[in-house]
Structures are given as structure tokens and as C-alpha cells.
Amino acid sequence: MLLRFSRICTSLLLLLFSANILANPIEASDNSKEFDVNEMIMHHIKDSHEFHIMDINGHAVSFPLPIILWTENGLVTFLSSEFDHDDSGKVIVKKKKQAFVKYHEKIYYAEQTGYLGKYVIYDDNGFVLNKKPLDLSITKMVFSMFISMVLLVLIFVATARTYSQSRNGEPTGLGKFTEPLVLFIKDEVALPMIGEKNYQKYMPFLLTLFFFIWINNVMGLIPFFPFSANLSGNIAFTFVLAVITFIITTLVANKDYWKHIFWMPGLPVPMKLFLAPIEFLGIFIKPISLMIRLFANISAGHIIILSLISLIFIFKSILLAPVSLFFSVFISLIEVLVVAIQAYIFTILSAMYIGSAIEEHEH
């Protein structure tokens, strides 16, 4: 089942990766400056307020995204193009009698100093001291998330529609592709981990979780414009999903679950006292490990692919290009498998934690 599943996703995405190589190096900035691999990679991994598409003759071409700020004077919205591709705190945007400045993809209230043309001030360690408004902008990540939502809704509502058209409840068309995935979650994740009695209640959550993570993982691997955002490699994203799992686990947990944490039955009292803090910490470590696993895996994948591409620019030799390309294609293909497995692992572990919380012990 798993093998077939991975085969499906591999074949689905194989085509997309021929384009991978072409699009990434464009992020290398203008020739006058020394190429900074670290900066390029971090720029790609992190969120940004505009969707950078490519550079043409040193001019950045990007898709402007709305900036939404909750400031001291209320809600402020404007397009990120007003910063004019500036990310070093040199351009001020004035709205509602307030001045804003963007520095390293964070938006601050501008300070008046204007030292070296910058409207930000730092302390000795390089931390920015400017005050920040609450930033609820539609960033690159949020934009990418909305696209993934639209795609998911389109795909699965269309799938649901194929069932009403088919006569004998058999999937037709799109359903033939998506149904095995749904059945995979049902038979390989929900049923064994949660149990036959309760699994149906958690199916919608597990399905949404799995496909939401997977489609965002896959979109992160596709290197051209509306995709390529490293959303599932962003800790805020994985944090929210892990917290949702944590909340569900804690809310549905039965008496047995808490008993097994604070007063493990069938053990001598000193052992119980010893285990209780460990088990209690375990409640929090479980979702934290979920969060870190997905974030680090996906980010690491992006970093590796970008690093391999960057080898060409580090060694400044076209001779290295074939090697670099070969390795990045190789890693890309592995990543196709990894992103599917990571979505699967996140889902199966969530199901496992929920299952352990509602499990009824017999003793």
C-alpha cells in the first residue's frame, strides 16, 4: 500500500522537476556583489512580503502582496510594492500619520534617525530596537497557503462530485486518483491507530491534515512562481498544526490517559513518582517533536537543493554545473518521496497520539 502510494506521488511529480534547475539560480543577485549563499538560502527559506519571481537585468520582478498591519492608529493596509523592493530599512511608507519601514522582512515603525539612509536602529548585538506593529500581512507563505486551499477544495469537491455521478458508488475520473489516498489514510492510518470504534470521528481531521501538509510540501518543491514557498518548512505553520493535534489530544483524552500519565498503574510507588514528571513532559514533547520534525525536514530539503545549486556560484565554474545538476535532481527526487512520507508521518503520529488518548485499557 505504502509502496503504491509513493509510486503514485513519484510519477505525479516527476515531470515538474526538470524545471527545478532552471528557476533556482535566478535568485542569485546582481554580479557586482559577492554571491552570498547563506543569504540566498535564508531568503528562500524565510517568509517575505512580496513574491519574488525573477531578476531581469538586476531588476527584481515580483508579485506585490497586501500588507496588513494592526497599528496604534488602527488597521493599515497597503501593497508591498510601495516599499519598492527595499528590505534594508531605507524606504519609508507613510500611512495614517505613521511611517513604516521594512527591514529583513519585518515591518517596523520608522525611527527618525536615518543613519546611513536607514530608518532602523540596532543595539550592540544587531537586534533591531524599533517598535513593531502587529503584522497580519498576506505574505508569500500565506498567499501560497491560500493557493493550496483553493487547490485542495477544487480537487476534493470535484472528487466528491464524481461519486454522485457514478451509478454504483465506484470512483470515476479524478476519484480514481484521490480515492486510494483517502482509503490509505483510512485503512493504514486511522483504523490501526485510533481503532474501529472511534476512527470515523477523526477521519475529516486526519484527511485535512494529511492533504494540507502534503500539497504544501509539494508546492514548496515546485520551483516557479505561484509555488516554491517554503510554507511547510516554516515553524509557524507546523506550530499551528502541532498545537491543533495537541488540543485535540488533550480535549478528547479519557480518564485512563491521565491516569497513565500521573499515576501509572501496576508499578511500585517510587517508580510512579519517578515516571509522572517524565510522562507529563511527554505530553508537550510529542507535539513539539511533530512541529520540529516537519519544519526541519522540509527546510533541510530546501537548503540541500539550494546549496547544491549554489555550488556552481561558489566555485564560479560552469564545469561543476553537471555535477551540481545531477545531485540536485537526485535530491529533488528523494524529496518527492520525503515530503509524502513526512505528511504521512505527521498524520500517523497525530492519529497515534489521539488514539493513545482515547484508548481504553483493560485492567
Partner: protein, 164 residues
């Protein structure tokens, strides 16, 4: 450090997005899809169980047939046995009856013979008495006439009179 600090804005939007996505998909996608899947699975299990039931019924039917057959066989056997018993009983009864009848007949015949015999004896005695009397009478009458003649007469009479 920047990399591992969750951004408030993205947390906000992810929470909202996931919630919206969950409700839309749960209502418009997962419910019909899982419904169709469960329904299909149910129809398959139903069909399977129906087939199983039919098979069981067939087996039952076969078992019933065999049972009926064996019962009929048993019945036939017992009927035959009964008939045989009746037959032998009838024969035995008939034999007994016949013997009894024969015995009775012989007995009655014997009594009849006995009776006839005694009757005959009686008659014989009477006849002998009569004859004796006759002879005596005639003898006496002749005796009275002539002794030789008397003897002659007696001889004559005795010749004429056949005993019995």
C-alpha cells in the same frame, strides 16, 4: 533564531486557513467521499454475506434432503420389518389355529366314533339278546316237539342267522 521563532501573522493565517479548510472539506468533500466509500464497502459486505447465506441455505437444503432420504430409508426398513413380523405372526397363528382345528376335528371324530361304536355295541347287544331270545323261543318250541328236530332247527337257525 529568526528561523525558529513562529511569526504571529503566519500563525494567525494558518489557524484561520486550517479551520476554514477543515469545515469546507469536511462538509463538501470528506462527508460525501467517505459516505460513498462506506456505502460501497457496506454493499460489498452485504453482497458477500448474502452469498454466504445463500451458500449456507444450499448446504442446509442438501442436508435436509439427505435427512429426509435417510428418514425415508429408515421408515421403509421399519415398514418392511413390521411386515415381515406380521407375516411370520400370521403364519404362526394360522399354524396354531389349524392344529387346534385339526385336533378338535380328530377329537370330535373320535367322540363320534366312540358314540357310534357304543351305539353299535348297544344295538348288537340288543340284537344278540333278541336273537338269543328268538333262538331260545324257537329252540324251546322245537325242543318241545322233537329233540332231533330241535337240534336241526337250532342248526338251521344258527345257519340262517348271521351274526351281525
Amino acid at each position: 533564531m529568526d528561523l525558529v521563532t513562529p511569526d504571529i501573522g503566519l500563525i494567525f493565517w494558518t489557524t484561520i486557513s486550517f479551520a476554514i479548510l477543515y469545515f469546507i472539506l469536511a462538509k463538501f468533500a470528506w462527508k460525501p467521499i467517505l459516505g460513498a466509500v462506506t456505502e460501497r464497502e457496506k454493499s460489498i459486505t452485504d453482497a458477500l454475506s448474502a452469498a454466504e447465506k445463500a451458500k449456507e441455505e444450499m448446504a442446509n437444503l442438501k442436508a435436509d434432503n439427505e435427512k429426509i432420504l435417510s428418514e425415508a430409508k429408515l421408515q421403509r426398513e421399519s415398514l418392511l420389518k413390521e411386515a415381515r413380523e406380521i407375516k411370520s405372526k400370521i403364519i404362526a397363528d394360522a399354524e396354531i389355529e389349524a392344529t387346534e382345528k385339526a385336533n378338535k376335528l380328530v377329537k370330535s371324530a373320535r367322540t363320534a366314533i366312540e358314540n357310534e361304536k357304543s351305539a353299535a355295541m348297544k344295538e348288537l347287544k340288543n340284537t344278540v339278546v333278541d336273537l338269543s331270545l328268538d333262538i331260545a323261543e324257537k329252540l324251546l318250541s322245537k325242543e318241545l316237539d322233537d329233540k332231533s328236530k330241535q337240534a336241526e332247527n337250532i342248526q338251521n337257525i344258527l345257519d340262517k342267522t348271521k351274526l351281525n
